[in-house]
């Protein structure tokens, strides 16, 4: 029963093809399609469910699903039931994300398109939806171009621009830790825009860039970059990474003892990341885009309780809020426009203020006229180990609330030149 056939046929070419396929495999992904009815309002969510951003995508999905339930319980959109069609965009394959967006638009005939977490994918989807004249909301892709140089009349964004994030925290970092910074930055649109933002702040404060390393997305070992950073002897090491890359880098920085020698900080930090870190790696100054612990802010406690029921007791993260706010925005726009036509929806969105039950934060967030960017509140503070006897997910201490429109560049400096259809 034995055979050498397998080994005999196996040659180097097959091994090399296999290695190539291993790379391609990371791009392949399943898709999820929910059942749908003809007379419903359809919202298409094209977001990562697999790969590096799967955890973030799942949380946006949970928030979106809660919003759909809430909206349907209160009469739907324009008195029609709402259904959510979910596609896995993958975490990094632009072609797949665009293909799924086109499927949602052309075949499923969605009324609203939502996506994406990955900045590059969000921009590609935005360019596609613009060509198709489809109303789109970007829940969690941060690169500035989406509401900046490549803004479109039909594309709105819930999460902050990277410049808003860097502006909200840079003064604190400059004042507290000094003006010589070393950047370790993820090598794609999100990281690049974050670094540009910090570099602008640094230049304005006459600071020095001690060095900068761009690391490929999905980097597992940051030791070489950390060795370089240490040898540059900066005042602060600024980590502009995301997801698992941030976890890997922080864990390794702690093991190297660099947190005891330098200030380690950055712009965006997420609860999903903090939950993946051991207690000793929970440190540094960061920006959260939403935080679940906001004593005295209306409706936050109900929201947290609702999400806990749907996610096995876990609290909502900024991603959950993005998904929730994005879906609710669709309803608010449609009700204001009294229509599902993209152009009418987009017009209705100009200056639209989120009501407290959707805002779930102070300072009345609103969609800014001119670049379609939501102006929310940013939560600046420090990562912390869970307090003894406190909630195990209380991993961030908010020290400062920054209004979005104070952190954002003025519209005329964003590079956005909005062209509306005639």
């Amino acid at each position: 029963m034995i055979s050498r056939t397998a080994s005999k046929k196996l040659d180097r070419r097959i091994i090399i093809k296999a290695a190539a396929a291993a790379g391609v495999a990371q791009l392949a992904a399943p898709f999820v399609l929910t059942a749908r009815a003809a007379d419903t309002v359809k919202i298409g969510l094209d977001n990562p469910l697999t790969g590096t951003f799967a955890a973030l995508g799942k949380n946006e999905l949970i928030g979106a699903q809660l919003a759909i339930e809430q909206i349907n319980a209160t009469g739907g959109i324009l008195e029609r039931k709402v259904e959510l069609l979910v596609e896995d965009s993958t975490s990094g394959d632009t072609a797949t994300a665009v293909q799924k967006a086109l499927k949602l638009i052309d075949r499923d005939k969605v009324d609203f398109l939502i996506g994406n977490i990955n900045s590059a994918l969000a921009q590609a989807m935005a360019n596609t939806s613009f060509q198709k004249g489809m109303f789109q909301i970007v829940p969690g892709g941060h690169t500035d171009t989406v509401t900046g140089t490549q803004c479109h009349w039909n594309v709105f964004r819930v999460c902050n621009t990277t410049r808003m994030e860097t502006n909200s925290v840079s003064k604190l970092l400059l004042d507290s830790y000094g003006k010589k910074w070393y950047f370790i930055t993820t090598d794609y649109a999100f990281g690049h825009s974050l670094q540009e933002g910090f570099e602008a702040s640094l230049k304005q404060a006459n600071g020095t860039e001690a060095g900068a390393d761009f690391t490929p997305l999905g980097t597992t070992d940051f030791s070489a970059n950390l060795i370089k950073a240490q040898s540059a002897n900066p005042d602060a090491i600024i980590l502009l990474l995301a997801g698992d890359d941030m976890i890997n880098c922080l864990k390794q920085a702690v093991q190297f003892g660099l947190n005891k020698k330098f200030h380690i900080a950055g712009a965006q930090q997420e609860l999903e990341v903090n939950e993946g870190l051991p207690p000793e790696a929970l440190f540094g100054d960061w920006v959260f885009e939403w935080y679940w612990k906001q004593p005295g802010v209306a409706h936050v406690e109900e929201f947290v309780a609702d999400i806990r029921k749907r996610s096995g007791g876990k609290v909502p993260t900024a991603r959950t809020w993005f998904g929730h706010a994005a879906i609710w925005t669709c309803k608010l726009a449609a009700e204001k426009a009294k229509s599902l036509e993209a152009i009418k929806l987009a017009k209705a969105m100009q200056g639209l203020i989120l009501p407290p039950e959707v805002a779930l934060m102070p300072n009345n967030p609103y969609y800014r006229v001119g670049d379609n960017q939501l102006m929310p509140t940013l939560f600046v503070g420090q990562s912390q180990p869970a307090p003894q006897g406190g909630d195990p997910e209380d991993l961030f201490k908010v020290t400062q609330l920054v209004k979005g429109d104070e952190a954002a560049l003025p519209v005329d400096q964003t590079g956005c030149k909005m062209e509306w259809p005639s």
Binding site: I16, A19, A25, S223, P278
Partner: protein, 288 residues
């Protein structure tokens, strides 16, 4: 600059040793059974997740010892139920099977443990640098190196001084003759697969001490492992070890000058080896 370069060479050796551990398991399975195990990264992830679960019951050391054995048992069962059926067929069949298996394992771990990264805490005395000057030599990295060295030594002893190892080596050269001599090659392939998967499981447990534990943890490490095999030479375990160390050092040194190419340099090395010496550095001519 020289010091920085030296630091990165040493550091590259540490990382390379880890790649080599993964690649040795892959290579063992490839050499005897001709199976390109795409699911190797998945087995590595299972090793990490089992260690995470066992941690609460057995602590760090217990999880470190038990988890790789459990992964090996899972590997043995999978070989017996699925992979064995495809030995006589075109290698693309087993390649496709393990390809699918990799997705199933990733989704399975996501289903059981969730998509979010999980924290894994190593003993505090391991999680610190050994000296402030050579800060990249942390207790954990040195421990990892020692364990990889022990695993390589163990593998060497098994392959050279045990009956199982003798049969594996003989089977790698000529499985039909080994069978004719009365060796049960089904069992031999099964145990060899388990041994390879044990190394993947061990790599998984070690990885989560310095990386985030999430379902895709193996994805980013499987490619360097393939490259280590190709660079080192197909069919050669010492070659695989050398390949892993080489790409680790190359990646570390590249990080000094051009960090964004630290990953690409591995592929460049692979291309260069394939052009200049297609059988790999220590590969046997005509073996593959």
């Amino acid at each position: 600059m020289t010091q920085l370069l030296l630091f990165n060479v040493f550091n590259g050796l540490i990382i390379g040793a880890f790649y080599a551990l993964m690649a040795l398991g892959l290579s063992l399975i490839l050499n005897l059974s001709g199976v390109i195990n795409f699911a190797h990264g998945g087995f590595m992830a299972i090793g990490g997740y089992l260690a995470y679960t066992l941690f609460s019951y057995l602590g760090f050391w217990g999880a470190l010892i038990v988890s790789p054995f459990l992964v090996a048992i899972i590997g043995i069962l999978i070989e017996r139920v699925l992979i064995r059926r495809l030995y006589g067929r075109d290698p693309l069949y087993s390649l496709l099977l393990t390809f699918g298996l990799a997705f199933m394992i990733e989704d399975g771990t996501r289903f059981i443990w969730g998509a979010q990264s999980l924290p894994y805490q190593i003993p505090s005395w391991l999680a610190a640098p050994l000296s402030s000057e050579y800060f990249f030599l942390t207790g954990y990295r040195v421990f990892m190196m020692l364990l990889v060295a022990a695993a390589v030594l163990g593998l060497f002893v098994i392959l050279n001084y045990t009956r199982l190892g003798l049969r594996i080596r003989a089977g790698t050269l000529d499985l039909e003759t080994v069978s004719v001599l009365g060796v049960n090659v089904r069992v031999l392939r099964n145990l060899n697969f388990g041994l390879g998967i044990y190394l993947a499981g061990l790599a998984g447990v070690l990885a989560i001490g310095m990386l985030g534990l999430q379902p895709t943890i193996g994805d980013n490490l499987i490619m360097p492992s393939f490259i280590a095999i190709i660079v080192g030479g197909l069919g050669s375990l010492p070659g695989t070890l050398a390949g892993g160390l080489l790409i680790g050092v190359a990646s570390g040194v590249t990080s000094v000058f051009f960090p964004s190419a630290s990953e690409a340099v591995m592929y460049v090395m692979m291309a260069a080896v394939l052009i200049v010496r297609p059988r790999g550095l220590l590969g046997e001519e005509g073996r593959f």
